[in-house]
């Protein structure tokens, strides 16, 4: 790998630029995309940078083709990525489902803007949370990460690739217009210091390769097309050999394995940040750009001796059920507050997990303006 193409050091970068650069560190060598605000800088950076590290950039004819090309490239052995925003994320969904069932590693960035439909391209919302979970049809598992700063956008992009490769699944990397476009200091690491996971290749000879045999971890090994392993990949229900089946028992077994491989990885996949949580009576659950306001609100209230803490989601899906349930069970926990720039998509999840053990309130803003620290402080006072 041409090391000098990665220059460590301090930079001023946007979240979008950090994601693009991080993809290269993670080993991404293929990007296919379509222009859409506010994610386009990711494509623009990679159009320039990918060839410099021996990779390939394609602007496709539409969002659907972009997602398809990413899956095709991954099947041929390349770490692959696409980036989009709401309307494009909608268009990609069928092929994201294909990636789930055919178990094709890839990273799909969704820099959220206002929606539904064309909505507001140049301003943030956080309303694709449930689309990231359930956007494609069928009962599929998914991983979705959501950083809240430029530095974290960099590191979570690398983690997104590592999880995609580790679990053979599409990983949704959520962002929002604020995280994508704001500029912060970013210390780019030396390439050699970044830990990168590559998909496991089969050790068996081609004639003994079983493409969808989960093994002890429920994650099959993956041979690249054109390397002597002639096998079949389909979006139809298939058995361990990869060929279509309509045997009900095999269908259920294979679908359960898909879910189980992600459930097994819970501890590795599900990450969060705890900020002044140890003795918190009031717990804010926040993510993405809203978490930045929440952190400011916690600092101010702590200076006034209010026992407020922040539980910041870094992994959105799978949802951190266990961690939030533990906090809800603490004697001192009186209340949860979930501020979000949507109509309560994460609020419902927190209510489900807390299950009535303490109060759960929402704070929602649908006007494409960020929720301010003052609004969060007021919501805590009122409740």
């Amino acid at each position: 790998m041409p090391g000098p193409k990665f220059r460590a050091g301090l930079r001023l970068m946007s979240g979008n630029e950090a994601m693009a650069e991080a993809a290269l560190y993670a080993g991404c060598r293929f990007f296919a995309g379509y222009p859409i605000t506010p994610s386009t800088e990711i494509a623009e950076v990679l159009a320039l940078r990918l060839p410099q590290v021996g990779g390939f950039f394609l602007q496709m004819e539409d969002e659907i083709a972009s997602m398809a090309a990413v899956l095709g490239a991954s099947l041929a052995g390349a770490k692959s990525m696409t980036a989009t925003s709401g309307p494009g994320f909608s268009l990609k969904q069928e092929n994201i489902g294909y990636g789930c069932i055919a178990e094709i590693p890839c990273v799909v960035v969704d820099v959220q803007r206002g929606g539904p439909s064309t909505g507001m391209p140049t301003k943030p919302m956080q309303s694709d949370i449930m689309q990231a979970r359930w956007g494609t049809h069928g009962d599929h598992p998914i991983i979705a990460l959501y950083p809240d700063s430029v530095e974290e956008a960099f590191w979570e992009t690398i983690r997104a690739f590592n999880l995609a490769e580790r679990y053979r699944t599409p990983v949704i990397l959520l962002s929002d217009e604020v995280v994508g476009h704001m500029r912060e200091r970013m210390f780019l690491p030396k390439l050699a210091t970044v830990s990168v996971y590559n998909r496991r290749k089969p050790r068996r000879e081609p004639d003994r390769y079983v493409p969808y045999e989960g093994g002890t971890q429920d994650v099959p090994t993956m041979a690249a097309f054109g390397t002597g392993y002639r096998y079949h990949v389909t979006g139809l229900f298939h058995d361990r050999t990869g060929f279509p089946t309509n045997d009900p028992a095999i269908i259920e077994t294979e679908l359960r394995r898909l879910h189980r491989k992600i459930e097994r990885g819970y501890n590795e996949i599900v990450k969060w940040e705890e900020f002044f949580l140890d003795d918190a009576e009031e717990v804010i659950v926040a993510f993405g750009c809203t978490a930045r306001s929440a952190r400011a609100a916690v600092k101010r209230l702590r200076s006034r001796d209010r026992k407020v803490g922040l539980f910041r989601l870094k992994t959105i899906w799978p949802f951190p059920d266990r961690a939030i349930r533990q906090i809800a069970r603490r004697a001192q926990t009186k209340q949860f507050l979930v501020p979000e720039m949507n109509n309560g998509q994460i609020l419902g999840e927190v209510q489900r997990v807390v299950a009535g053990k303490c109060a759960v309130d929402g704070l929602q803003r649908l006007d494409t303006e960020m929720i301010t620290p003052r609004q969060i402080m007021r919501a805590l006072r009122e409740s």
């Binding site: 041409p2 296919a32 390939f56 083709a65 398809a68 090309a69 095709g72 390349a78 690249a224 990949v233």
Partner: protein, 275 residues
């Protein structure tokens, strides 16, 4: 000596799903003979398809095989071809898959000139879903969703391919089997994007709704109406009426997309450091 098809088949996965009288098997056999005559290694061949009857073909063939989503075989195939250019990528697609839901990808893959071969199994109907009207169903013809006759004119997608500057354009039929094999062979050997239309029949979903008594009756149309393209071009416009040109319509050389992408990557890696 009889041709050994089993060498290229996944025999365990037969019988296939196609109906008696379907043209798909004829095209499949021509494809396998063409691949064999080009002496391609099985490991170096990748068959890609979308959804539909024709898209089930790759599952029966012992190559690298990818059965994708409806209409999207071409962009899946492009992704794989970019990463592994040594793959001989062949896409099998029906008329609905290739030029209705996949029409946009068809246009842009022609224009990009990606070194792959698209074989469109054109039976003028959606067969797998039970006979709904397709972009190539003739005007006035009956389908499950045009019980009063088709109100739209059929699409001659080879003209679309020409407009989009595809570098290899050909048409054959399931009746002209020698031509079919030859055309597919030349399409695969061509450096650039090759579009091959194969006109064929769906007696089950199309024929029985449109007064064809048998699959043989349907094939007789190709026998009677088809004219080699060189002869066709010498006919007057009046004489061309009711005739269908077959053969290789266009074969030109142009920059190939994947080669150029790789050339750019090599140059960019050598470039001195700079902003």
């Amino acid at each position: 000596m009889a041709f050994d098809y089993e060498k290229y088949l996944r025999v365990d996965h037969l019988p296939h799903i196609w109906c008696p009288g379907c043209g798909h098997g004829i095209i499949f056999k021509a494809l396998l003979r063409a691949i064999d005559s080009l002496k391609l290694e099985k490991d170096d061949v990748m068959l890609v398809s979308g959804i539909g009857c024709a898209s089930r073909l790759p599952g029966y063939a012992d190559f690298n095989t990818l059965h994708t989503t409806h209409g999207r075989a071409l962009p899946f195939a492009i992704g794989a071809k970019v990463i592994n250019p040594k793959l001989n990528v062949i896409i099998t697609s029906g008329d609905g898959d290739a030029v209705a839901i996949g029409g946009n990808h068809f246009i842009h893959t022609c224009r990009r000139n990606v070194d792959m071969t698209l074989i469109i199994f054109n039976n003028s109907i959606y067969g797998m879903t039970g006979g709904q009207v397709s972009p190539t169903t003739p005007f006035g013809a009956f389908a499950a969703t045009t019980p009063y006759g088709n109100l739209s004119y059929h699409l001659d997608f080879l003209k679309l391919a020409e407009g989009a500057e595809a570098t290899f354009i050909a048409r054959a039929t399931s009746y002209h089997v020698k031509l079919l094999e030859q055309v597919i062979r030349e399409a695969i050997a061509h450096k650039g994007f090759s579009v091959v239309e194969v006109m064929e029949d769906c007696p089950t979903a199309y024929g029985r709704r449109n007064k064809f008594r048998s699959a043989v009756d349907m094939m007789r149309v190709w026998k009677d109406k088809c004219v080699m393209v060189d002869q066709f071009r010498q006919l007057s416009p009046e004489e061309q009426q009711g005739k269908i040109p077959i053969g290789i319509f266009r074969q030109v050389q142009r920059w190939e997309f994947v080669d150029e992408l790789h050339r750019i990557a090599e140059l960019a890696q050598q470039a001195p450091e700079g902003e």
